[in-house]
């Protein structure tokens, strides 16, 4: 059989399978791909995933078709004469073609990923303390965080602080007096500014359906943005190993209507007022007191002197 014949057969199989797989991937699987469409970020992440899938499927299928073809047609049982000598050592055209195609594909993927990252304001990933791809309203939300009675009105960005600690997440709403709760309730159709930090080890705040993931580092304010689009509940899991009960570090949150959010926030603020008074004032990060859980947490800059007791426990006598 001549060269073009093999190639033509393989290409035909490849094209048919690839088109079928891509159609299936885009129209059947695509809309259900994680993380869903609950937020603008999630939606973009999903589209990104699907676009990569559209490219990946033909690549995978291409290699598999080729290998399958080779295994069946070019096996020793069927005993063709293998091509030997210089002809088989490397055909320059094939090599150049291969390198060009893979280069273009990967560079395109990098360019597309960068574009998506920038337009989607960091794609819901933790951007550290000084985000560079902030959505409009983000700066205002950061300022509002330090005026405890500014509340929230539809159209504004809402700052929410996520505090990870072994082994739970709690949430502070700085514009509602800075109350702290273990419930994460968000208004629909709003830009949310998550300020993620930790009191002890590294955790990772993963709000699955929101398409948000940001590591919770002690003494770091890791900022992530999203924009809610649908009502409903979502799952929060810790996605960075944080010790024994890491696996149990999950809860769920809810996106509710703006009105429902406002009444919930105001009620909780009032109900928690007594507790909130005992909390350290709102700050981007907190440093544990030397007495750990027995003491309180102090805002940054007021760290108490180091105590080895805190790290190592009481000194035992020599054995």
């Amino acid at each position: 059989m001549n060269e073009t014949h093999h190639l033509r057969r393989m290409t035909t199989i490849w094209v048919i399978l690839s088109i079928a797989a891509d159609l299936l991937g885009w129209f059947v699987l695509g809309p259900h791909m994680p993380p869903g469409r609950m937020t603008e970020t999630a939606y973009h992440d999903q589209i990104d995933f699907n676009i990569l899938l559209m490219v990946a499927l033909p690549v995978v299928i291409g290699v598999w078709v080729y290998m399958g073809y080779a295994i069946t047609v070019w096996s020793a049982k069927r005993a063709p004469d293998p091509v030997g000598g210089d002809a088989a050592r490397g055909n320059t055209r094939t090599q150049v073609l291969w390198i060009s195609i893979t280069s273009v594909m990967t560079l395109a993927a990098a360019a597309f990923g960068t574009w998506a990252l920038v337009v989607d304001h960091g794609s819901g990933g933790g951007e550290g303390p000084n985000p560079i791809w902030a959505p409009s309203g983000a700066a205002q939300a950061e300022t509002a965080a330090f005026s405890p009675n500014s509340g929230w009105t539809p159209g504004q960005a809402l700052p929410v602080q996520v505090i990870g600690q072994q082994w739970k997440f709690t949430y502070r709403y700085p514009t509602f007096g800075g109350f702290e709760t273990s419930q994460l309730i968000l208004p629909d159709n709003a830009t949310i500014v998550f300020n993620v930090t930790s009191l002890d080890v590294i955790h990772s705040f993963w709000a699955y359906q929101l398409g948000v993931k940001a590591d919770a580092n002690p003494q770091v304010n890791d900022v992530a943005y999203t924009e809610t689009k649908q009502l409903g509940s979502f799952m929060v899991r810790c996605s960075e190993l944080c010790g024994i009960w890491h696996g149990a570090m999950y809860n769920s949150g809810q996106v509710v209507t703006p009105a429902a959010f406002q009444s919930w926030a105001q009620q909780t603020e009032a109900a928690n007022a007594a507790n909130t008074k005992l909390l350290p004032p709102f700050a981007w990060t907190y440093v544990p007191d030397a007495n750990g859980a027995n003491g309180g947490y102090y805002p940054d800059g007021k760290a108490t002197p180091y105590s080895s007791v805190e790290v190592y426990g009481s000194k035992n006598p020599a054995s």
């Binding site: 994680p34 992440d45 990104d48 995933f49 990569l52 990946a56 290699v63 080729y66 290998m67 080779a70 096996s75 020793a76 063709p80 293998p82 091509v83 030997g84 000598g85 088989a88 050592r89 490397g90 094939t94 090599q95 390198i99 893979t102 280069s103 990967t106 560079l107 993927a109 990098a110 990923g113 990252l117 960091g122 990933g125 550290g128 985000p131 560079i132 080890v201 590294i202 990772s204 993963w206 699955y208 398409g211 590591d215 580092n217 002690p218 770091v220 190993l241 944080c242 010790g243 024994i244 009960w245 890491h246 696996g247 149990a248 760290a303 790290v311 190592y312 426990g313 000194k315 035992n316």
Partner: protein
């Protein structure tokens, strides 16, 4: 220098014709230095260090809730390793030199007992490494079975949360340590001198040292369990690291010790490949496995020091109360993440390149074709090695570390898949119009191409920052790296064993059992790990003992497949025992009709490898080429001709 591999005379039966003094440590028999004295040395060392630690630092902090003095544990570990090395005799030569005495002669002991001694013969070390890495692999595998058992059910627990996380951490660390050396150690040490036409490795003592340090690392990392385990996974992130109990010492010191072995092995390998090639073994004739090991050794020597330093910093934080990783005192937990991954990403290519090299050797032999695009393949390996130093922060996209660098790391990570893809160009090109023989090594090589494709393509998904938001820290990543490391490197290693053990042991591995082994491993590997992509996409984080109820079906499927995958390793173990001891079948001198130089040596390979240093005449891949020259002129043994034409 008194390394026997250098002198073709006087090696038979351990007898020596020179008048040099043979020290008692080298004598055959029980009253000398061997595994037994090493064990005694390790135990005595540990006890001594532990005692010393308590003596000098009795008022020092005890680790919370453990009743252990960190200084005592650390010194115990250090002295234990020193005792192990002293006991086996690794330090005889340097100590004698330092004391200004003439070191005793080192004898190439014959017989099975050489495998339990400090041997400087690269072939003995290679076989020692085979046993060493398999020990790592099987103990790590048992831990994996425990993990999949726990994940059978989200609410019924077989282990406590505490035990579970320690099992996970131990499994990951042991496997990663094993994977650093799984090819470089056994196949690299054994084959590289044979492939490049050398009588030995450049630094035989360093080579032996790397093996005995590797085994010491095995003991140190397992000592973490009796010390209470460590909860950080193989990545060991601070501050969890700082918070953890004495088992963490086992992790930190374990990586430092393994790191010493890696640096030693890599350095030795690089120097050997560069300087010990036979005449005519030009760079364009160097076998592709040797190229891959050269690239790997570059990574071993350049990336591992970072790991070593990172580990030592951690140890200092724990013992001397420095604050490298302690935010509150001017250190930074980010520092660990950066150091760890600055090593960690080159490390993943340490675990990939040797596999590419192995399949590159296997394909031409079983397709009867030259290796396609050999030069591109070699260049790709070097390219990967270089680029792998510039991508480490793709592990830290969501960490909050310099977010403005993300586009750059996305770019470099995407770029690295170009040279990684060359391995497919080489492989697919070689398959073109071939004459494929489906022997066991070939099946494993083809399986690498199948598996690694999934591993590599999912890597591109991971490197896309927006997609990474969903998949980072979850089962998707877990599956990605099992596809690359297990589906790639481990399959290649198995193929390599079936391919080269006949040379190394003189016995053929049974083909029928081999087929069972291959097919069970291939099928159940995919059935175990493919569902994990879906599990990850559906929101299950890594290293958890419980998960959403609706994921139980997939998890159970994966667990049951994992048990069957574990069973396939028993088939492999059985095949080893059966073919090497129960029913040994003598291997023909060149069972696969390979042109490789390593197959042109006598069988079994004499301890000095070549009667005289061969003159290399051609590259080893000129199959199906009428009139191709012999691969080398072997001198006394006569001109060895090309493998028979088919």
């Amino acid at each position: 220098m008194t390394i026997s591999a250098e002198r073709p005379v006087a090696t038979s039966g351990g007898a020596t014709t020179t008048t040099e003094r043979v020290s008692w440590t080298q004598r055959p028999g029980i009253w000398s230095q061997h595994l037994g004295t090493a064990i005694v040395g390790a135990i005595v060392g540990y006890l001594l260090g532990h005692w010393l630690g308590n003596a000098i630092a009795s008022s020092y902090p005890y680790i919370q809730n453990s009743g252990q003095n960190v200084i005592a544990v650390t010194l115990g570990e250090i002295f234990g390793v020193a005792g192990w090395l002293l006991g086996i005799g690794a330090l005889n030569y340097p100590l004698a030199k330092m004391a200004g005495r003439q070191p005793g002669k080192e004898v190439d002991v014959q017989g099975w007992s050489k495998y339990f001694r400090y041997s400087t013969n690269h072939k003995t070390v290679g076989l020692q490494y085979v046993v060493g890495v398999l020990l790592f692999l099987f103990t790590g595998g048992l831990l994996a079975m425990a993990i999949r058992t726990e994940l059978l059910n989200p609410t019924t627990h077989y282990f406590s949360a505490d035990t579970y996380i320690k099992i996970v951490s131990e499994h990951g660390t042991v496997m990663m340590m094993m994977a650093t050396s799984i090819v470089v150690g056994p196949l690299g040490n054994y084959l590289v001198p044979l492939m490049i036409g050398s009588r030995r490795m450049a630094f035989p003592r360093i080579e032996a040292f790397s093996f005995w340090v590797f085994t010491a690392g095995y003991m140190v990392i397992f000592s973490a369990l009796p010390l209470g385990g460590f909860p950080t996974g193989w990545t060991g992130y601070a501050p969890l690291q700082t918070q953890a109990g004495p088992g963490m010492i086992g992790y930190l010191f374990g990586f430092a010790v393994i790191g010493m072995g890696m640096m030693a092995a890599g350095f030795n390998m690089a120097v050997t490949i560069i300087n010990y090639r036979a005449p005519g073994m030009t760079w364009s004739r160097v076998p592709i496995l040797v190229w891959s090991l050269l690239a790997t050794s570059a990574l071993l020597t350049l990336a591992t020091p970072t790991l070593f330093a990172a580990g030592v910093f951690g140890l200092l934080d724990k013992t001397a109360q420095t604050a490298f990783y302690v935010n509150e005192h001017g250190g930074s937990a980010y520092l660990w993440q950066n150091l760890f991954w600055f090593f960690g990403h080159p490390e993943v290519y340490i675990m990939a390149l040797p596999g590419f090299g192995i399949v590159g050797e296997i394909l031409p032999v079983f397709t009867r074709k030259p290796l396609f695009a050999y030069k591109v393949g070699a260049a790709g390996m070097i390219g990967v090695a270089l680029l792998s130093f510039f991508v480490w922060q793709h592990h830290l996209y969501q960490s909050g570390i310099n977010p403005d660098m993300r586009p750059l790391f996305m770019l470099t990570t995407e770029l690295i898949s170009i040279p990684t893809g060359f391995i497919y160009l080489v492989g697919m090109g070689t398959l073109y119009k071939a004459k494929i023989r489906f022997e066991i090594p070939m099946l494993f090589a083809l399986a690498l191409y199948f598996n690694f494709l999934i591993g590599g393509v999912t890597g591109v998904f991971l490197s896309d920052v927006p997609v990474n938001v969903t998949v980072h820290g979850g089962f998707f990543v877990l599956s990605h790296f099992h596809y690359t490391i297990m589906g790639g490197l481990l399959f290649a290693f198995m193929g390599g064993l079936y391919y080269w053990l006949p040379k190394m042991t003189g016995r053929m591995l049974n083909k029928k059992i081999g087929l069972w082994h291959f097919w069970t491993m291939f099928v159940f590997f995919n059935l175990t790990f493919f569902p994990m992509f879906i599990i990850g996409l559906l929101g299950q984080p890594r290293r958890v003992f419980t998960y959403a109820k609706n994921l139980q079906g997939l998890n159970d499927f994966s667990s049951v497949s994992a048990f069957l995958l574990g069973f396939s390793f028993l088939i492999f173990a059985f095949n080893m025992v059966y073919s090497l001891w129960i029913n040994p079948q003598k291997a023909p001198a060149n069972p696969w009709d390979s042109r490789g130089l390593e197959w042109q040596t006598a069988n079994p390979v004499p301890s000095y490898n070549f009667e005289r240093i061969p003159v290399v005449l051609s590259d080893p891949y000129r199959y199906s080429e009428p009139g191709a020259p012999a691969v080398a002129d072997l001198g006394d043994a006569g001109l060895v001709h090309a493998a028979p034409q088919d």
